[in-house]
């Protein structure tokens, strides 16, 4: 059987043109996907059965026992953290938020170590957005700032941005200009018409200098800003103003550097001001395929897109206090549920040490370093391959993920439902 128009469950591009061949309930061929996406769809070694840690070793158990142990851990905790959610569908997010509310926990997504500062910047300033379809069909100037799509979002350029032919950009790459700003040359910068190599941690200064030039105050600038000549900055500003439709994509080079959310705030202001001259949009290059979806579900369920604390009985949001790294680093979290993510790999070590000191429940199809520090491990079906559901592309477009094969594993949603039932039973008993 050939399944057309499969949506790839890897990165925020959510490429929707994948062709998958299925024989005897097994995926035999994946076409059109990048290497990263094809590897995810094909799958690899799975966690075989639920496990609980006994005498330091993970030993296999039943799903019922695993749900009970998970529920006990979360129910007994004073300040449980429910973290992850980037690589699963919105139906699971909804259950996770319900569970967080029922146990009075803190729920946060992987945005917290990724584009969390982007969300804060956008809340401060607002975002001049557009869909990737509009970018494909209209953009004649594309900026990638602190982002390396050639390696992190391999089909972005071919489907949505620099190297695609659009309705009003029929010439494709030859009709478009591409600017890359980064601290190092990358595979992406080699495809660029203009590359600005800035000193690490100087993004805010360079964005401010561009805003001055766009605003007509370039004469006040010194001859060099953060290692970049004024001529180069004037050239970039003129290229942006001269575009018919400009697109500004930014990556973790902005969110992970000095300045953090203020870098995003400043970029949003630059794009706002460019809209006095031409049409310009701005968008974060979201990483995992449905980290954007968690932000959407969390915002409509709680009013906030991440780092939501239910311990007061109402949703409370204060990143810096209620984000995953904060509640762990401050020694507040006394249990954790990790779903579809790998904080052991992606948090600073001193934070991972804190996570390893508290009981951890993991729900994931695959073993990862977080498994090594987990007390209850519950394998689930792969969302977007074995389970259908909704995911949000990096531009906020919801797409329906397909089920390609039938799995013997329960979905993340079903696992969370099982834990919620056990938590309620513990509540009834008390």
């Amino acid at each position: 059987m050939i399944v057309e128009d499969v949506i790839c469950p890897f990165c925020g591009c959510l490429c929707d043109d994948i062709r998958v061949e299925v024989e005897d309930n097994k995926i035999t061929k994946v076409n059109r996907a990048c290497r990263l996406g094809a590897s995810k769809i094909r799958g690899h070694e799975r966690i075989k059965a639920p496990m609980v840690r006994e005498d330091g070793e993970l030993v296999e158990t039943s799903y019922e026992e695993a749900y009970q142990r998970a529920a006990q851990i979360l129910y007994q905790a004073k300040r449980p953290l429910l973290y992850g959610w980037c690589s699963t569908v919105c139906e699971a997010h909804k259950k996770g938020i319900l569970l967080a509310e029922e146990v009075g926990g803190v729920i946060d997504s992987t945005a917290t170590v990724c584009h969390g500062p982007s969300i804060i910047g956008i809340e401060e300033k607002g975002l001049a957005g557009a869909t990737l379809g509009q970018v494909k069909n209209r953009a004649d100037l594309i900026v990638f700032w602190g982002s390396n799509p050639a390696e992190a979002h391999p089909r972005h350029s071919l489907r949505y941005s620099t190297n695609v032919r659009g309705k009003f950009t029929e010439g494709g790459r030859s009709e478009k200009k591409m600017i890359v700003v980064d601290v190092r040359k990358t595979r992406s910068s080699r495809n660029a018409d203009k590359f600005l190599r800035i000193r690490p941690g100087t993004d805010y200064e360079v964005i401010s200098a561009l805003r001055m030039i766009v605003g007509g105050n370039g004469d006040l600038l010194p001859e060099r800003v953060a290692g970049i000549s004024k001529d180069d900055l004037v050239d970039m500003a003129e290229m942006m103003k001269a575009a018919r439709f400009g697109a500004f994509f930014f990556g973790l080079g902005l969110t992970h550097s000095r300045g953090s959310y203020k870098n995003i705030d400043n970029s949003l202001s630059l794009v706002n001001e460019l809209n006095s001259h031409t049409k310009f949009m701005i968008m974060p290059m979201r990483g995992h395929y449905n980290v954007g979806g968690f932000g959407q579900v969390c915002a409509w369920e709680t009013g906030y897109p991440m780092a939501v604390d239910f311990s007061r009985g109402i949703p409370y949001f204060n990143p810096g206090e209620t984000a995953a790294c904060d509640v762990l680093a401050n020694g507040e979290a006394d249990a954790a549920l990790v779903v579809a993510a790998d904080p052991a790999s992606n948090f600073p070590w001193s934070v991972v040490e804190k996570l390893a000191e508290i009981p951890v429940v993991q729900i994931d199809p695959f073993e990862n370093p977080t498994t090594l520090i987990s007390d209850v491990v519950i394998p689930s079906a792969v969302a977007g391959v074995e389970v259908e559901g909704t995911a949000y592309r990096m531009d906020g477009l919801p797409l329906r993920m397909k089920k390609l094969v039938t799995s013997s594993y329960p979905s993340d949603e079903e696992v969370l439902d099982g834990i919620i039932k056990e938590v309620r039973r513990l509540g009834d008993d008390n």
């Binding site: 040359k185 992970h256 550097s257 790294c325 695959f366 073993e367 370093p369 520090i373």
Partner: protein, 108 residues
């Protein structure tokens, strides 16, 4: 837990000047990277796109040995722009299970 992935994220990219410097034994062996937050042994590779004095380690368990927990009030640790020293070492790069052996429940 793919060995290819862990190999790819336990490597430190160095500029041409740093890779070929006598202090780093012209890219032979591994390096010990130290920041105010920790230290870790990683392998090295040449990246001609890097300017002198800047290293790059991909996001992963090895890079995170070098990152501090402070989120500066916004929930996200600063993963980039950390001052580090790099010195040659004969020590081996730890495998992922070995790396986590010291943590909580990872067992003996």
């Amino acid at each position: 837990m793919s060995p290819e992935f862990f190999k790819a994220v336990s490597v430190c990219s160095l500029s041409e000047e740093d890779y070929g410097s006598p202090e780093l034994a012209k890219g032979e062996g591994n390096v010990l990277v130290t920041t105010p937050f920790g230290q870790v042994v990683v392998s090295v590779r040449l990246d001609e796109g890097l300017p002198q004095g800047i290293i790059f380690i991909p996001m992963g368990p090895w890079a995170n040995a070098l990152v501090g927990p402070d989120t500066c009030g916004c929930g996200t640790p600063r993963f980039k722009g950390i001052e580090a020293t790099v010195e040659p070492t004969m020590a081996e790069v730890k495998g992922v299970r070995e790396l986590f052996r010291g943590f909580g429940r990872a067992g003996p």
